[in-house]
Symmetry: D3
Subunit: 174 residues, 6 copies
Amino acid sequence: MNETRALFVGRFNPFHLGHLQVVQKILKNEDELIIAIGSTQQSHTLTDPFTAGERVLMIRECLKEANISLEKVFILTIPDIFRNSVWVSHLQSYCPPFNSVYTNSSLIRQLFMDAGITVKSAGLFDRKHLKGSYIRQLMLKGEEWQLLVPLAVFNVIKSINGVQRLQNIVQGTD
Amino acid sequence: MNETRALFVGRFNPFHLGHLQVVQKILKNEDELIIAIGSTQQSHTLTDPFTAGERVLMIRECLKEANISLEKVFILTIPDIFRNSVWVSHLQSYCPPFNSVYTNSSLIRQLFMDAGITVKSAGLFDRKHLKGSYIRQLMLKGEEWQLLVPLAVFNVIKSINGVQRLQNIVQGTD
Amino acid sequence: MNETRALFVGRFNPFHLGHLQVVQKILKNEDELIIAIGSTQQSHTLTDPFTAGERVLMIRECLKEANISLEKVFILTIPDIFRNSVWVSHLQSYCPPFNSVYTNSSLIRQLFMDAGITVKSAGLFDRKHLKGSYIRQLMLKGEEWQLLVPLAVFNVIKSINGVQRLQNIVQGTD
Amino acid sequence: MNETRALFVGRFNPFHLGHLQVVQKILKNEDELIIAIGSTQQSHTLTDPFTAGERVLMIRECLKEANISLEKVFILTIPDIFRNSVWVSHLQSYCPPFNSVYTNSSLIRQLFMDAGITVKSAGLFDRKHLKGSYIRQLMLKGEEWQLLVPLAVFNVIKSINGVQRLQNIVQGTD
Amino acid sequence: MNETRALFVGRFNPFHLGHLQVVQKILKNEDELIIAIGSTQQSHTLTDPFTAGERVLMIRECLKEANISLEKVFILTIPDIFRNSVWVSHLQSYCPPFNSVYTNSSLIRQLFMDAGITVKSAGLFDRKHLKGSYIRQLMLKGEEWQLLVPLAVFNVIKSINGVQRLQNIVQGTD
Amino acid sequence: MNETRALFVGRFNPFHLGHLQVVQKILKNEDELIIAIGSTQQSHTLTDPFTAGERVLMIRECLKEANISLEKVFILTIPDIFRNSVWVSHLQSYCPPFNSVYTNSSLIRQLFMDAGITVKSAGLFDRKHLKGSYIRQLMLKGEEWQLLVPLAVFNVIKSINGVQRLQNIVQGTD
């Protein structure tokens, strides 16, 4: 593998402008990129309101909109395995080989470094507003969130009535 | 299926007077009712102190006490599947066919509506006191809870020393 | 518990005349009976073609047809746990208390006896023809199987187009 | 969704010329295609020797080689769920919406038809030789299999020393 | 079994001086002791930072240091089963037979008593400081924790850079 | 780690004289040995009749009988994970660090070599008779098997009535 292939991991609920910035930055340095969507067995929860398929569609439509060639990007889904000690092997089995990992998470950094894999910083962007949990809070409160995601993502969420879904999920236990 | 068959879902920890009111109300409108007990793999926890078998027994004894014919009611147990996107299919596989669903939960309403199944409101009752979490709190504190459940349910809980069990469950982690 | 309550375990794919004979025989000796349907997470396979809900319906309709009161019989569903060493505890958690177990299976007999629970023989009937695997073979070959099951069971299987389903399941891997 | 999007399901161990013919045929009739790789939690077994990531890479390289635009094809991975009754919902949650399914499997046909989804025949090709199990047998025996797969697939298998891996997997139990 | 064999259950993240006191006390009364390490599928989390293997090594090195013969002690690992109703059977299947259980946990006491097994108090020690959660808090804050664990445990944690690992685990979601 | 620590993996149903020879041979070359018992969630089946705890006891009693110090040997239990691609990481998380692996299995050899870990041959012994499957066949048929296992193992199997258990397990489905 003379070409470089990098990995970028997230749950992408939803894929937002910060994620897009990271993708664009990585593609300046690397030949190919794997966008690995985690927790794909989850949906219809407060932290993971969207299905794996919906998240794939959001990212794909966003890449097309941003004129990023799908020849250079893998969009893959990684179900949770609930075992940190095997998570790197698990993720590797779902991906083609890669040379480096971009992440801002210290846990993911730790797990990959323990496995002897190069970890690079995903770089800085506006982490206060460009953050999944913040965007979901805005959706729940019925406030403005649209400008924090690419237009293509907004369109997917609108087509599935995603804000209404998230609001319906808010409920206590019995 | 010319006759109507409705579904009523809950965890029933324990089955209380509010649940009984719902059952009685539904049976005025429908020929048959499925009472689907959820989270049946759980027991001996703060939210699910009772086993599936104990919950079946509570409901059955209560129906007998209330002169509701067991010919009209299915009491079925549904283990959790931890995947909201397949939960409706999962529940359907454990039940005979049904025409409508009664629930007050907006998440369950959402999931069934996504699957194209009619959802009706389970109706109003005193949700402040007739609520599983409230009754379990009273049990934990050693306060009066008996009047919030049918007598038959009280007798089952007493026979298994259920209040003591719940109090023993309260403990921190390591 | 002064009254006796017995357990009868099977997969019931489908519930046949041999099963019905056992139920009738047990109810001569015991006050109540739990019919525990196993492997209820399975369906659409060669050994378990029917869903849990379909099996519940077969048994219930059959009991009504045979004038066996549902006040005396629990019909419960037990998902597999794939751990023989905990299977008895697992099954007990899904059932109300019982005094004895009827089975012809030497493995189930072993597991219950290890747990100190009384095991009785389910008695003899025509095990060559009244056997789930034999009836499913007849269905697959398009031969006569109807006389081996109660009429109510036949009607349920017909209503779900069960023979066609079983034939569709027959297929090799990749 | 005015455009059509079809689904094609398989395990693709490995992706062979028959699969490629099906993909090319479907893309004549449909705007977009989802290639859904099943059993992706498996690898290093006789029926599933390749990892999910390796299978993704095989298919992707093959599409590039065949000049099929990645703008028109989703390559997605679907772990097994071991519950036929929820399999369609499970698969749907991992995919963007689709209008039709192409398959030659009668079980998959049955499951989708039960869910009310249009199923089309994947069409005929040389099923004696263009079959995963046959190709894996050739690999095991050290016979010629290369001409049954696209060149790009051959190159991926060679790069991972796949034939040797398969031969190492052959072993009895304890 | 004329000799007595006792059970002591914990997660041991990490094994501390309070645990060692319990072990020494039990071995004054019993011929053999099983130290059963729970939640062994977990690692790299705030409550379970260490792997099963690391916890085994900590305990074993500590016993050697304290001149406790390994001929008298079993060190066994018990993965979680997430089903309280079968937990005792699950644990028993991973252990040789034992006569009694030492614990300070009221839930574990309840579960064993329900199974008819003798439960003894693990005795008192300084539960404010000799507590896993307290020691992990000290590690997170970079404060002194070393004196709360046996020297052998400290050496194992140092060799795996355990404090740094725990600090890396602290991170929010998405 | 200046000292060497080797790994020896098996299911040990039961631990036989061939296994003992391997252990003795390894301990001539290595400072410490981990005996890793696999498939420990299984019991009461034809391939895994004994529980994890019974297998631990067999091996431990056998080591004592053979005057092998328990200071040099770890006896650890490894539940199946049903994912070959993560199995090495899974096993590593249950063990202290080790330098080399002894096995006669080509699959295990493949998996460890893929992970960059040294694999050595476990050496030759009488694989026709000293083989778990052969010994279990003798038990099933009621023939002589005692001379193929260490006396300590025979005593454990006798104490649990293991041959009778195995014979009871033999039964068809439904």
